[in-house]
């Protein structure tokens, strides 16, 4: 349902410009690898566990074998050709029976790596090994389709998306189940504040996160299993979301595929802007992770909403549109289909601003109109939420109404305590009651909602689109495109230089003959 008549010429123009602006990023991503991409390859090949020697604390604090191996390879032969060749060369040449044993040799300091003269056997073996991981991802995708077919999708759009964030997986689980029973269609477990900056993925079931729970393969498994139970109980497939972001974006993407997560937060710029992660690192990592998501049939959620927490939602509305177009472009390039693009936007206009609600409607309709086939992710008010929880509850109700009026695909449920604490059990329950009331009583009001051509809403949407095209022109005209725009502080009024931020040392320019079996297998297919 499109309620606005957007200028098709302008829309096409916008996409052409976005492609040009994104080109330098794609080039950069193709020409490099990162430690995390290489670790992701080993994970696909089945290497798990941590090095016991690296700490007698809880397992989550020990260094995973994938890190030890990649570091060892890097020390001995460098990563310019990727880990696959040296690792499987070692295996094919019989120094170890399997990856696990090889890893232990690394632990013992006895492993020796070299680049094979004839790469074929190693390639061969690596491809086979990684293919098992890809096969498991494919199996999970098939299993999801089967469960959805059997149990069914949510009865309506938007899907109701809810966050749990206790820091303790064993508290998260009952809360997630409670939320599902109360009507949530999608559960997101947000991560401990620090995880983005860890250059390894913790292991095991964890109970000690701050303002979020660590993303670990075991936590993924436990939560997915718990949601499968509740899905059966409710006769509705409840989806699970986590975050493929931060320094381990590619590995998390792989773990998500291996544990049948359904959606992943995965933005081309979030880590750069809001975690001060190096842009090159992020661009390489996001491309790999998006290829994995494409293969896994995972819906990604982008993070444009975040810009509006640091920039003004009206003045900078067009930067959201620009970012959505860039995320779309980079996603398509990585093989994601439109139905997998949960492009982000948010209800973040100052509520005290006259006409704020109608301005929100204009922005939301613009996104809806520009991306008709994408399941837009509609984010609730956060920045202007205050400790006045009554006002907050009302504001969230109007956010829900805007979602229904403008046909959003995924509605992230707002919490009245947004400005106070990470959501309580009762906040989530009250929030879902809010959603039920609004969708139940006024969900069909869209039938009676008809912004007048040339009216306030229509005019506003066109203004924002025009501003977006102007900005894209300027970005596309620069040789560095998006990379330069980020350095200029275009998004979320935050400047990030290509050489700054965390994790640059983990980026390696690929050499002639470099080999990454995962890329090869993933690029093979196009979903």
């Amino acid at each position: 349902m499109s309620k606005l008549a957007l200028d098709p010429v302008l829309a096409t123009r916008a996409r052409e410009l976005a492609a040009r602006a994104a080109a330098p990023v794609v080039e950069l991503a193709r020409a490099h690898t990162t430690v995390s991409v290489e670790r992701a390859v080993l994970r696909l090949a089945g290497l798990t566990g941590t090095d016991p020697v690296t700490g007698d604390g809880p397992e989550q604090d020990r260094v995973p074998w994938v890190n030890r191996v990649v570091d060892a390879v890097r020390d001995q032969v460098g990563l310019e050709s990727g880990v696959a060749l040296p690792v499987w060369h070692a295996l094919t040449s019989g120094t170890a029976h399997d990856l696990q044993e090889l890893a232990e040799q690394v632990g013992a300091g006895t492993a020796r790596f070299a680049l094979p003269a004839d790469p074929e056997p190693a390639r061969e073996a690596a491809r086979t090994a990684v293919a098992t991981g890809i096969a498991r991802i494919d199996a999970n995708r098939a299993r999801r389709d089967e469960l959805v077919a059997g149990l069914g999708d949510p009865p309506r759009r938007p899907w109701i998306y809810l966050i749990v964030a206790t820091g303790d997986i064993h508290e998260d689980i009952p809360q997630a189940q409670a939320a599902a029973r109360a009507g949530a269609d999608v559960i997101a477990v947000i991560r401990s504040t620090g995880q983005s900056l860890l250059d390894y993925v913790p292991e095991g079931a964890t109970r000690t996160g701050y303002a979020g729970t660590y993303a670990t393969q075991e936590n993924f498994r436990l939560m997915r299993a718990a949601l499968d139970d509740v899905s059966r109980e409710l006769g509705r497939y409840v989806r699970l979301t986590n975050y493929a972001s931060g320094l381990c974006m590619p590995e998390i993407a792989v773990l998500a595929g291996l544990e049948r997560l359904d959606m992943m937060l995965n933005d081309a710029m979030y880590g750069i802007l809001f975690r001060d992660i190096n842009p090159r690192r992020t661009f390489v990592d996001q491309r790999f992770s998006r290829m994995v998501h494409a293969r896994a049939g995972i819906v990604i959620n982008t993070g444009e909403d975040n810009y509006l927490t640091t920039a003004d939602a009206v003045d900078e509305a067009h930067t959201v549109t620009v970012s959505q177009l860039l995320n779309e472009r980079l996603a398509h390039e990585a093989g994601l289909a439109d139905w997998q693009l949960g492009l982000g936007h948010a209800f973040e206009i100052d509520p005290d601003r006259p006409e704020s609600f109608r301005l929100e409607l204009a922005h939301a309709l613009l996104a809806r109109g520009l991306f008709p086939d994408a399941p837009l992710k509609w984010m609730p008010p956060t920045k202007h939420m205050t400790g006045d929880v009554f006002r907050g509850y009302l504001l969230d109700g109007f956010f829900n109404l805007a979602g229904a009026l403008t046909g959003q695909g995924i509605l992230l449920v707002g919490m009245m305590t947004e400005a106070v604490v990470t959501p309580w059990l009762s906040d989530r329950d009250l929030a879902l009651r809010n959603v039920r009331y609004v969708l139940g009583s006024a969900g069909n009001l869209a039938e009676d909602f008809h912004p007048q051509p040339g009216g306030f809403i229509d005019r506003r949407a066109h203004t924002v689109l025009a501003e977006a095209v102007d900005l894209l022109e300027r970005i596309a005209d620069h040789p560095q495109g998006l990379i330069q725009a980020i350095a200029d502080g275009t998004f979320g009024i935050t400047r990030r230089s290509p050489d700054g931020g965390k994790g640059l040392d983990g980026v390696v320019r690929l050499a002639e003959g470099a080999y990454n079996p995962a890329l090869e297998l993933l690029e093979g297919v196009r979903v």
Binding site: Q177, A178, R181, A182, T193, A211, T422, D429
Partner: protein
Amino acid sequence: MSDGTIVRPYGDTTGDGMVQTSFTLPVPPGPRAEGAALQLANKMGIEPAMVVHSHGIGGGGGTAGEGAAFTFFVVYGSVRHLVDLAAVEVEERAYPLLSPTEVNAAIKTRLRRSLVVLGACIGTDAHTVGIDAILNLKGFAGEKGLEYYREMQVANLGAQVGVADLVRTARDRRADAVLVSQVVTQRDAHLRNTRELAGAFREAMGESRPLLVVGGPRFDPAMAAELGVDKVFGRGTTPGEVASYLVHALVPEEEQ
């Protein structure tokens, strides 16, 4: 409407002591749960208390009713407690609120060198909007940030800064004041981090440590001493307040 220094909450009549409260108990809905809610309300000093609403959370069935393991309550009633305004130890500003011009003048004429200010968000906290509101030119609530003050030398290190790095930078730059923001409070992260901050500076620089100022929406300004810092600012702080405090704390009184 308050007579003297003793007041009570006001519902619709002076002295009625009326308050609203809500909470969840890990008890299935039912008479027992209601009784438990009343017990808690009474322990809080609400008497008589009315459980005006309750519903189950976490049960089966779309509406979370059946077999819920938790019950949410809304309770209204009159608290017997009296509030003694005389006993309120207020963090009233102990220093005058100065205009940027006055601040600059004070530094220039009385400190006779520019004031070095470092700002950062420590630990894994990535919330920079708060510290930026205090430091950046743009400022907050119509007031320009400290970077606008000619006589101040401001460096904003951004977010996720390690305490060790912060101490090092502070020493290298001879910072007069270090301003730290903490927004994430779950499991009292902000308190832990602040204590760690104070400890590290004491350790490294002892008496000669710079002035330590922390802020964030969930801080109680009365906690400074307890946290081992010099000053704590809470929600809604404005740059002007901070600048005025810096002058008060770091610029010698003019001797007349």
